[in-house]
Symmetry: C2
Subunit: 331 residues, 2 copies
């Protein structure tokens, strides 16, 4: 039997979900090693030393030395846990998207949850209440049609949400770092500097931008204060794009109608495996829908991402250009 052509180290739950797909695709051509305990990487120093590819969402100088490393392949999109200064010279970094379908379905589920109130109407009628309130002036619900969706960031996720929202007759506003051709084109487009104008007009605000120096705390005292009292915020990007204290206080005081939060300010760690997800008690608020960073967690996501990753490994083996390469910026 031939030697494996490539030695690959997998770290983290998403990477490990893809292992069966990589084994199915490559068979014995890959040597696949899973990192058993992320908090004790040092115990697998030999596996790091041998790895030519690392499939992981985190990379920094605390990991054991990886002298043979050619590629850091993220099984996700977010680059905020990659310390690019620590990436060895000659090693490339690629990320993977494919989450726009799942995340956009999550966002529309939240928007329709608030708009149609299906679980609440169901609970009441299941209890025997035929009340005609739903047909009274104050009981009639609003419609998505004609409402405004505001996208903070208009990459693959923002555009996927917008395509669905437009089919409901919603108006689309977006702010983005890099104006370029979009599908769908928003009805209104600005740079991040115009975020306030978007927030003043939006009925639903979707945060779907990368976390960067430019976007950290972007939605802080000034901008969250610009939101309508009837508006809802949905964060599927990274917690710190939205100032935690300002968000909590706006929700608590009812200065905005509600929020769906899938991304957080505190995550499980070895020292604290099950923390509350914020420094403030979001779980005590009645106008927050909260989920544990799973808006994109679909079967299709894993299939699509690891099809892309398998393609990238084939490209690496064949010496061809890689897909979704983010580092070095240009070769």
């Amino acid at each position: 039997m031939a030697e494996p052509a490539l030695t690959v180290l997998l770290a983290g739950r998403v990477a490990k979900l893809g292992a069966p797909l990589l084994r199915q695709h490559f068979g014995a051509r890959l040597a696949l090693v899973e990192l058993q305990d992320e908090a004790a990487a040092g115990a697998q120093a030999a596996d790091f030393a041998a790895a030519e590819v690392l499939i992981a969402t985190r990379f920094d100088a605390t990991l054991p030395a990886m002298p043979r490393l050619q590629l850091i392949q993220l099984p996700g999109a977010g680059l905020d846990d990659i310390d690019f200064a620590a990436v060895p010279v000659g090693c490339r970094v690629c990320n993977a998207f494919e989450h726009a379908i799942g995340i956009s379905e999550y966002v529309m589920a939240a928007i329709l949850h608030w708009t149609v109130s299906l679980p609440a109407r169901h609970a009441r009628f299941k209890g025997g209440d035929w009340s005609g309130d739903v047909w009274q002036p104050g009981g009639l619900r609003g419609e998505l049609a004609g409402k405004t969706l505001g996208c903070i960031g208009y990459g693959t996720i923002g555009q996927a949400v917008a395509a669905r929202a437009r089919a409901f007759g919603m108006r689309i506003m977006a702010v983005t770092r890099t104006p370029r051709p979009f599908a769908p084109e928003p009805d209104w487009l600005g740079g991040y500097g115009l975020t306030e104008a978007l927030l003043e007009a939006a009925d639903f605000v979707v945060v779907a931008c990368p976390l960067s120096a430019e976007t950290r705390g972007l939605l802080g005292p000034l901008y969250l204060g610009a939101m309508r009292p009837s508006a809802y915020l949905i964060n599927v990007a990274r917690g710190p794009v939205v100032d935690e204290d300002v968000l909590f206080e706006a929700l608590q005081a009812g200065r905005i109608a509600g929020a769906a939060l899938d991304v957080w300010y505190r995550y499980p760690s070895a020292a604290d495996p099950s923390p509350r997800p914020g420094h403030r008690p979001f779980h005590e608020l009645d106008n927050v829908l909260m989920t544990p960073h799973c808006s994109g967690a679909t079967e299709g996501l894993i299939e699509r991402r690891f099809a892309l990753i398998a393609d990238n490994l084939e490209r690496l083996l064949a010496g061809r250009p890689l897909r979704e390469q983010v580092h070095p910026a240009a070769e």
Copy 2:
């Protein structure tokens, strides 16, 4: 002050919701009278005798005589409570749609409720559970993208649902009585005789056809048995399109995954103002979302319907053709 040009009798909760809009539009040009008690119409026989227009969803021979009646204007779409044999010669009947926006939002809310499970995921995380189950092979959710929507009936409601579902990447199948140009065109189209083929393929089945001799009990033992065990049924048409016993037993036995039911087999009456909505205990099932015939109950519905009705009254006064006339069939 001039005499009113037209005497209009309003019956039922939807008609009465529109009264302020008609008053605003017509001022003193209309004499608007509201029926106080539908179960005791005889007590207002003089109002019936004077009425030139009846705005109501029901009409039959038990109502007091209406010798001056020129128009029965439904503030809704369903014709199943109109006894056309009892309509006076020379009186026209028009209906009103405009509910496709609200109903299609309700349908997509139900589909996304089942697909994303937002309330259940929220409840678990609010309770402090960071469980990675959502990122395990069995915990990953499915996607709407690539799933099949089957529409029983493909009128304004079916097409509105399909337009939204297609933006999610769903495949559209439909059966209809009258094939004609549609927007959007479904991926697969048949007559009611091909309902079984649709049910065998659909992940979500939306019942959105008129109740007629052809559709009463259409989804009975044969057809409901053709549905996939993983499929969901959504009825926003009329209860009796779906056989009650067969539906209940399929849900109870888990032969289909679940149902969202907005239309029913028993409705409030003077004798029983708050009945359970079926002869079978749907409220005891865990896989049913149940609502009291309110899927289209939106603020926009009332505004759009009474804009249409105001236009029809203007047309009646001016002797011009009416919109959405359903009787007589052709003039």
